[in-house]
């Protein structure tokens, strides 16, 4: 905060009156304790302090990014931007900057967690696994974000997060679990360990089953991966502009049991409450009862589609990537895990998906695999563990009207193909999911 105030005070003296200018700073302490073969093998901490300077002058724009050590002085950085912006071409998509009334101030001094506290959580996870081989990590972070612009906006925010993610392995199986929250104290690593251990224990000596279409019960991590693909590629307004989004607004595209909300302001939501432009993110109903209602916008996409900005610009990416929701909640249903399994005649329980890739953005056909705990369900009971299966399935179709049988009654932050802390979801029971390959290819 002290550096930011000093930098800003000095910088303001050297910014010409005729230009648009935006200055941002992120400072973080990110720590991660990593374990493998049931002991801690890597333990890291990173201090970050980066300045982003955007200058828009005579219809041209440039962004320079430097960590604070590589900046000689605020003046030198501004002079460099003013010189280099002349080389930039016309920026026809420039959409301005938020006004001063969008300022949001929530900076807090926060002491980072120490490595002993993370090691304690790791120990709790590992110890429930008896002789099984444990691997994973426990991470903590403290992030501060500051934004100022020549419209008079001055914003700040502070956030913390903590995660534990781990697996137990045997010769023939593995099981995983995950917990996330705003503070390390809230992370129940022992329960996560118990879940992972049980999955590894129960999935030993898996049997191969034939590929084909199966009913599936999906754990939170598997659900989270389906939704993160829709969030990043589907509800991103940039995809809509480019014609590659599969989302059909205001139509019954998804099952009516599905309601998705992006809410950065909910108690214990993770991440900043302001977007990269410094304005508060809007809370959005993305899907209501299966009907898509809103896209994630940035300044530029909102201008291009002539819609209201939702303020979902990602920090550090510029706004060419479009808007991304990072606080997505899937409203839970009323089923327990046992209810879901007992309702399956013949299907598969999938704990987690792995290495999912889009084959075509419009159809959202994705291929990937299962891992860390999969079981065949027959006549309402888990009958045996199953090995690797490859799916090739449209994620849109997997959530379409009629394909969602039920939602779990409990939700939690779940890991996903694109990272953790983005989605808070329950389990899902789907009528049909297409597996196209097994262990033998």
């Amino acid at each position: 905060m002290k550096y930011w105030n000093q930098f800003l005070e000095e910088a303001k003296k050297h910014i010409p009156k005729s230009i648009d200018c935006e200055i941002k700073m992120i400072s973080s302490t990110n720590s991660l304790t990593r374990f493998a073969n049931s002991h801690i093998h890597q333990n890291v901490e990173e201090e970050v302090a980066d300045i982003y300077l955007t200058v828009h002058k005579d219809d041209k724009t440039i962004t320079l990014n430097s960590n604070i050590t590589s900046i000689d002085s605020p003046k030198s950085l501004i002079d460099k931007a003013l010189a280099e912006v002349e080389n930039s071409p016309n920026d026809t998509g420039w959409a301005g900057m938020p006004e001063s009334d969008s300022s949001f101030n929530s900076y807090k001094e926060i002491e980072p967690k120490n490595p002993e506290e993370r090691a304690g959580k790791v120990k709790d996870f590992i110890e429930v696994g008896k002789d099984f081989n444990a691997a994973g990590y426990c991470s903590t972070s403290v992030d501060h974000y500051f934004v100022w612009n020549t419209n008079g906006l001055e914003s700040s925010d502070s956030t913390t997060s903590a995660f534990i993610d781990g697996i137990f392995r045997t010769e023939t199986s593995s099981g995983s679990s995950h917990r996330g929250g705003t503070s390390l104290e809230d992370i129940d690593s022992e329960t996560a360990g118990i879940e992972a251990f049980k999955l590894a224990k129960d999935s030993q000596n898996p049997k191969d089953i034939d590929p084909g279409k199966y009913e599936v019960v999906l754990g939170p991590e598997a659900v989270s991966t389906i939704l993160v693909f829709l969030g990043v590629y589907g509800f991103n307004a940039r995809s809509k502009i480019e014609g590659t989004s599969p989302i059909q607004m205001n139509s019954q595209q998804f099952d009516e049991k599905l309601t998705l909300i992006d809410d950065p302001h909910r108690d214990k939501s993770l991440g900043f409450k302001i977007d990269a432009s410094g304005a508060p993110k809007k809370t959005l109903e993305i899907v209501k009862d299966g009907v898509p209602k809103s896209l994630f916008h940035t300044r530029r996409t909102a201008k291009e589609l002539n819609e209201d900005n939702t303020f979902h610009e990602l920090f550090g990416w510029g706004d060419s990537f479009g808007g991304i929701g990072t606080n997505i909640y899937l409203n839970p249903g009323s089923s327990t895990k046992e209810d879901m399994i007992s309702a399956v005649e013949r299907g598969i329980y999938i704990n987690e998906f792995w290495y999912c890739r889009v084959l075509d953005p419009i159809t959202q056909v994705v291929t990937g695999l299962n891992r860390n705990g999969s079981f065949l369900i027959e006549n309402g009971k888990i009958t045996k563990p199953v090995g690797r299966l490859r799916f090739t399935q449209s994620f849109i179709a997997s959530l379409a009207a009629g394909n969602v049988i039920s939602l779990g009654s409990e939700s939690r932050f779940a890991d996903s193909e694109f990272g953790e802390g983005i989605l808070n979801v329950p389990m899902l029971h789907l009528k049909e999911f297409n597996f196209t390959g097994g262990v033998s290819g």
């Binding site: 002991h39 071409p89 026809t92 014609g243 510029g318 695999l369 090739t392 390959g437 290819g441």
Partner: protein, 478 residues
Amino acid sequence: MFDLLQKAVDSAISSGAAYSDARILNSKSRSISARNGDVEDFNQSESIGIGIRALVGSSWGFYSTYDLSDKSLVNAGLKAHNIAKASAKVPGKEFPLADVPIVEDEYTTPHEKNPFKVSSTDQINLLVKSTEEMKKNGSSHASGRLDFWDTEKWFFSSQGHKIYQNIVESGGGISSLSIGDGETQIRSYPQSFGEYRTGGWEVIESFKFENEVERLAEESKRLLTAPQCPEGTRDLILEGSQLALQIHESVGHAIELDRILGWEAAYAGASHLDLNKLNKHKYGSKLMNIIADATLPGALATFKYDDEGTPAQRVNIVEEGIWKGVLTGRDSAAIAGVSPGGMVRADGYGRIPMVRMTNVGLLPGNSSLDEIIEATDDGVYMETNRSWSIDDIRLNFQFGCEAGWLVKNGKITDMVKNPTYTGITPNFWASMDMLAGEDEWVFWGTPNCGKGQPGQVGHTGHPASPARFKNVRIGVKG
């Protein structure tokens, strides 16, 4: 810079670390992207900082900071030690580091035109013109991207290493996306996500985007009306850049010793390879000769020393189809009882060094793409990656390519869309029966390899030439 590094390392050692090393990086990057004749992003970034490792017992402690003041450097050494020491709450077995030569040396990537001294206007104009031309030729979305990195690294260890390296990397590419009725088709050049190498602006000049723009636009449009790739089992001919990614995913990651030892099991995964089968396991056909070589001039993962100070070298990974080698660091090599191969690198100063692919490539054969096609009665030729997925022990894979062509009785016939193929790693490599020669051997580069926690992006190289694989399952659909 070495004085600054020594302050931090001395602090870690005097705190009780058995070994410590540190790197200061001064990094510059420039990225430019354009779409449909307009510049989309023009970003330049600079950073300076230090990352220090300390080995205490069975664990590495790592701390990084942007603050290079004397007080901060001493604190950095102490912190790295204390972070490692905290791991003693869940200890493992102590390990030594494999011996490597202790050197004082310096190295700069050979290059003709430093990309940061070339006018950014010229760089922007290249993309603007290329994307404008593709758009004029009917592309729905024409995009292009250029990236440049100029990284100075100073490395110092408690054993006496003092190494300065200046690595210059350049790359980029162009793509034409066509949108049809409920589908998209794309063609990219030189490969999907661009082609990257060590070197300067001359790397980009060698691509000659202007010769490809019309073809890319035309092919992406034509794919919209092309028939689907047929389903079934056929001979598969892969163009070099797709084969490079096949090598990356099904060989490169599988031979990382940290994976084999289980250090990456929770995230990136482990490996189907078992060290007890080294020198015995059949990885592929006799045509399969894989090397890991960080000395290939101009390849993306070429340097003189890795981020542990181990000299760059060539290591034989697969010889005539038999698995012979692994990718190592000083710690993993000592634990496994193999020689350290200089394959440890970190993503910037802020991340801990880890085992990374160097230039892991398939040595050329003695055929040619034309001869391979002539020798194929019923097959599909696939070009340019579009999707990739492989399981966490690197066995079960499925790749999609941008475009395919049927091969009938020795001739290329119809273009087909959405070509995919799937297989199991050793079976697939065992089916390779024809391999193009040195004339078609290209040092493909991958600038976006993700690994580790916290995540790191690595730059890897994959020399490859076109090859044929017999009886592969193709045309998998959702």
